[in-house]
């Protein structure tokens, strides 16, 4: 299967898997990359304007041939930068990962350059990221929501969005008119359901609200103040 040519290529790329080598490679390409704290794989912070060139260089010259994921981090309200877009690359030939992170300049209307021109597969990743985190990918050919419906007014994975949801209208007005149903906040009944793995007793292992000190009728202790503010 492996010709002599392939083996020599593999030897060439496996000789430089270290973070320092990759950092040097990016710096040589004129990318103002800085090393990012990481407990597993090499990770770099890159300025927003240089992310497309960075991924292109890594794909074409360092054999990072697979875009595993495009996602984002919300560092919560008040943090600046609040949003960070993260790209995970995999090299299938050298079995190495690298992580590229881009801080969004705006904390209220975050945006990042689209990498669809480098990886067409980024299309749906970026749509998902736009849908759930509200990152606007500049240059994306078709930036629509992918999971929630088009008219949905929120970005549910942001830190300020409650898990239960916010009351809003259903996507179809005629169905709402006929049934009177709206999108309602889900009853949390004591908190998010959490499964316990490794339990032998199935009754204990199944997903359930672990914290039963509060429920719908009795608000969570740390939200007493919040409730008073709302009332």
């Amino acid at each position: 299967m492996a010709s002599g040519n392939d083996q020599s290529n593999a030897a060439a790329v496996t000789s430089a898997p270290e973070a320092g080598n990759l950092l040097g490679f990016l710096r040589n390409k004129g990318v103002a990359a800085t090393e990012r704290p990481s407990s597993d794989h090499p990770a770099f912070n890159v300025p927003a304007g240089e992310v497309v060139a960075t991924l292109q260089h890594l794909r074409d010259e360092q054999a990072f041939d697979l875009l595993m994921d495009v996602t984002a981090i919300d560092w919560a309200e008040g943090a600046s930068p609040r949003f960070t877009v993260v790209y995970h690359l995999l090299s299938t030939t050298r079995s190495a990962y690298v992580r590229i992170a881009v801080n969004c300049a705006s904390d209220t209307a975050p945006s990042a350059p689209s990498v669809v021109s480098v990886w067409p597969g980024a299309n749906w990743h970026e749509r998902e990221c736009f849908d759930l985190m509200g990152i606007k990918f500049e240059g994306h050919p078709d930036l629509r929501r992918i999971l929630m419906w088009d008219e949905y007014p929120y970005h549910p994975l942001r830190k300020d969005f409650p898990l239960a949801g916010i009351e809003t209208a259903l996507p179809d007005a005629d169905v709402t008119a006929e049934t009177g149903t709206r999108v309602l906040a889900a009853p949390m009944a004591g908190g998010p359901f959490v499964a316990t793995s490794g339990e032998i007793n199935l009754t204990e292992a199944e997903p359930r609200a672990k914290d039963e000190s509060w429920a719908d009728r009795r608000p969570r202790p740390d939200q007493e103040g919040l409730k008073q503010v709302r009332e």
Binding site: Y154, G165, D172, V175, T179, G180, T181, V183, A186, P187
Partner: protein
């Protein structure tokens, strides 16, 4: 219910072949034993639904083996799985396309109450968007549980005032949506 009566034969040529009963009983008997399900399979419950249709559990024993993927040919929607808000309107549209009389089985915890998906994306019970006749517990329910639900639905259909609905413009109100 449907009984062959020899006493009421009025003509020797048909004597013994005349059945006397109520129209309600006949109509409900027919409906009960040829219920065509609309398999609204949305999640893992649909796998159990397939098992019900297979040879081991064999829903054909109850006359409901003709799964129709066109709502216009079905009269019992089996909602098997998690209904998201995005899907809810489509589910209602499929329900609206079914010809009356029609029934709905909410199969499993998700379809009945939203189940473990207490989140912004999930409809908390399909009864918020279509009227449900029978709820099935379980996550997912065993095939036997769905057969039990079908038998309960059949028992319910047998009690319906079928002729009243056939010949009156305003059918009696179904269970209210909430």
């Amino acid at each position: 219910m449907v009984t062959a009566s020899t006493e009421l034969g009025y003509n020797s040529k048909v004597e013994g072949d005349v059945v006397v009963t109520r129209a309600d009983a006949v109509i409900n008997w027919i409906r009960t034993n040829s219920m065509w399900p609309m398999p609204m399979g949305l999640a893992c419950c649909a796998i159990e639904l397939m098992a019900v249709g297979g040879a081991r559990f064999d829903i054909a024993r109850f006359g409901a083996e003709v799964m129709r993927f066109s709502p216009r040919q079905a009269d019992c929607m089996i909602v098997a799985g998690t209904v998201t808000y995005k899907m809810a309107a489509h589910l209602r549209r499929v329900y609206d396309q079914m010809c009356a009389p029609k029934w709905v089985i909410a199969m499993g915890a998700c379809a009945s109450t939203g189940g473990m998906y207490r989140s912004y994306a999930t409809l908390q019970g399909v009864d918020r968007i279509v009227p449900v006749d029978v709820y099935v517990s379980g996550c997912p329910p065993r095939p036997e549980a769905l057969l039990d639900a079908l038998m309960k639905l059949q028992a319910k259909v047998k009690r319906e005032p079928a002729t009243q609905r056939l010949f009156s413009d305003d059918a009696p109100p179904r269970a209210d949506l909430h």
